[in-house]
Symmetry: C2
Subunit: 440 residues, 2 copies
């Protein structure tokens, strides 16, 4: 005798037009009925032959569903008497059993943690990552993807075992070496390959620094205005942000700022983000000496200094730092393309080992074929020639943009700043001009 009209229930919900195979559908429907206690424990199921005939489907379909339910413990076979819904509440452990009705508070609200809420509430990443007036995005249509494809294919032709398993040690060694060499020559960064950790980009580099060097409540100076990403990562890590005014020479702490020693100083010395000025040498020396005396960490975000259109690029702050208080970071997002997701972090000697370990624990490493391709791309000179080519192109475009600004705006009221370098420039608007209402 059956206590529940199983075949009616199944006929009602089996969808013959569905892409899901009939046997999977059957299994799921019966499982749901058991979970919902529509089919209570100890219910005897019809024989597979009977059920198949009632549903006008093949017996194998039913057998599949029964076997799956059996294997998962939803039903049990009793010798000589058929298949029964299992009693799935264990005797050994008396876990409290909830009523079937859920608390509306649980079901209807999203319960992020406090730090999770901060991370999401202050999110700055735009959903638009391509097109006119999107700052910080290179012209990826110019990327020599044929060269890249050829190098990558070559790497993949005979990938060594080590390239396919987990990595360890801060990135693919030949890439660390070629990055160290590049940074020495072009950015006067003072480093060896062992100090370079390959990351997914600036955000991951900042996050890694905060995971290893910060505790909640620590204070960080940021430039005012500063990069939204740095601000949000700091805040999500529980670090207290102190915005510091910038002037034409860069970050410019006053007496009160200096009196409250921070643990971190976030700066963009080569090309202030977003205003574009270069930090003066005097300011650099003062900052280094302050950090050295007080044991602060300076985080140098050197995100787009490769594109300098007038004057020579200034050497990195890191290269001036005999005291080893500077953590230097850069990205291939601007020089190559953002979707690559590769960047680098250069650490003081004493921090290299713990950072490599931290990276491994937080994210594991790998991606050796990608990093090998990047190492080849740099080693064969394609990286430098791409940068040279793009510098000319962006320089020419900048000139056109500047001319248009000069032509269409009143130069005494509206002028561009930060046009010496980088992938964007900033317009200073007159005081009466609302910078938000013009835009959607």
């Amino acid at each position: 005798m059956r206590t529940f009209n199983l075949s009616d229930y199944l006929l009602q919900y089996l969808d013959k037009a569905s892409a899901t195979p009939r046997n999977r559908q059957l299994y799921r429907l019966m499982r749901q009925a058991i979970l919902d206690r529509v089919l209570p424990a100890d219910t005897r199921l019809p024989s597979s032959r009977d059920l198949a005939s009632e549903l006008s489907i093949s017996r194998n379909t039913v057998l599949y569903a029964y076997e799956q339910l059996l294997a998962e413990g939803y039903v049990e076979a009793r010798a000589g008497s058929g298949t029964y819904v299992a009693d799935t509440v264990p005797d050994s452990v008396h876990l409290p059993v909830a009523t079937t009705q859920r608390s509306p508070a649980v079901a209807e609200t999203v319960q992020l943690s406090q730090r999770g809420h901060r991370l999401v509430a202050q999110a700055g990443a735009s959903t638009q990552q391509w097109g006119a007036f999107v700052a910080g995005v290179p012209d990826v249509t110019q990327f020599p993807h044929k060269i890249w494809n050829a190098l990558q294919s070559k790497v993949w032709r005979k990938p060594p075992i080590a390239a396919l398993t987990y990595g360890h040690g801060g990135g693919y060694q030949p890439l660390r070496e070629v990055v160290a060499e590049y940074l020495k020559v072009s950015r006067s960064v003072d480093c060896e390959a062992g100090q370079v950790v390959i990351t997914n980009g600036i955000h991951q580099s900042i996050d890694l620094c905060l995971r290893l060097l910060s505790d909640p409540g620590d204070v960080a100076w940021v430039e005012d205005p500063c990069y939204w990403g740095a601000r949000n990562l700091l805040s999500a890590s529980g670090v207290t942000i102190r915005p510091i005014r910038v002037d034409a020479e860069g970050i410019c702490p006053d007496e009160a700022d200096l009196a409250a020693v921070p643990r971190f100083i976030f700066v963009t010395p080569s090309h202030q983000y977003p205003l574009g000025m270069v930090m003066s040498l005097a300011r650099r020396r003062s900052l280094l000496e302050y950090a050295r005396r007080h044991g602060c960490w300076i985080i140098e975000d050197d995100y787009d200094s490769e594109f300098r259109y007038s004057g020579r690029p200034l050497a990195s702050l890191q290269g001036m730092d005999s005291g080893e208080r500077v953590l230097y970071m850069g990205t291939f997002s601007k020089t190559m393309f953002p979707g690559l997701r590769l960047g680098y972090l250069v650490l003081p000697q004493a921090l290299s080992k713990p950072f490599v370990t931290g990276m491994e624990e937080l994210h594991r490493s790998g991606q050796a074929p990608l990093q090998a391709t990047m190492a080849e791309f740099m080693g064969q000179g394609h990286f430098n020639s791409h940068i040279r080519r793009m510098r000319l192109l962006y320089g020419a475009r900048l000139e056109i943009l500047q001319q248009a600004i000069d032509e269409h705006f009143d130069g005494s009221a509206v002028h561009a700043v930060g046009s010496d370098a980088g992938l964007h420039l900033a317009l200073r608007l007159p005081a009466h001009c609302d910078d938000k209402s013009q835009w959607k």
Copy 2:
């Protein structure tokens, strides 16, 4: 008149055999001398012609160095009277200037933060990621890299712009779709593409959950024994770990455990790590009901359930969860290869949007060409056939290993557990046997 014998100093350190060009060397030596105050402010530099002749090098070499120093503000040209070392301490800001001697405490000890120290001190990732008896690593020599290379080359032949710029939204959409479909069919996961977030693997997935849903001091149940990575990520996030005994049916909380409601329950229901048992249906239901009643989050780590050698794979815990308390995670590290660094996180509907945002803020997204290749690999059926092939291969190897264990050990004293599934098995040793002293 010159106050310092510059040319002697330079002759001493200029290295004619070095790969670094002479002009760069000259620039760096002079910069260092200025930074070290060996060349103090207001020192007049020799003319480029004089210095070149004293060093027996070309005048252009000297000019390059001077111009670089000039551009960076280390020296300044005074009209009509030559080039002088600049006074680099600014008047406008009186930053405290440290003595040149550094505090030994700063220079010689590594100052990690408390959470950074925890992360590094408890590190579990082995430097050996390949070879016999390395658990959790697939046989990457069997990966069909020719097929992969061909698919990847095709993706790169004409990459769309969106593939090269920053991504947004939880991963490359076609990959999210094919992963959702795969998980529905093969793991009975109840999800749509919008609930799938592509990550770099299990570690990043766990970390993302903790960044969004935990605050320091929250409590998490973990299985005892459990996966080292989960334990360390929890601890590094400031979450308090409560180890819960496992028995033959999986996690087995006692009355005291149940009384102290945790925020998280970390489990490996399909194949307990490392012991290998499957969580019973009864235990699953109890756990879900407990989580639902108390608003706990269950993190289901389904890391290698694809490789089941006997019986059918059990459906995922997530698929039983109408209460939406389960966050499901899996990885391509075992089914493809670890160096790929791709995994997936399946979220309750209400959490999808904040998690996508959180991922974007913490790591930015991209890697569309890689994810597109993966989507093609799955869409064309290569993924499923690779799993089938590897399941047979691993099954055969497991049999050989079991036979060897049976042959060489006394079965009453030493026996293997967890041999139904996965990439490893565990040996239970007799009580008198030291499990560490035998190994280096």
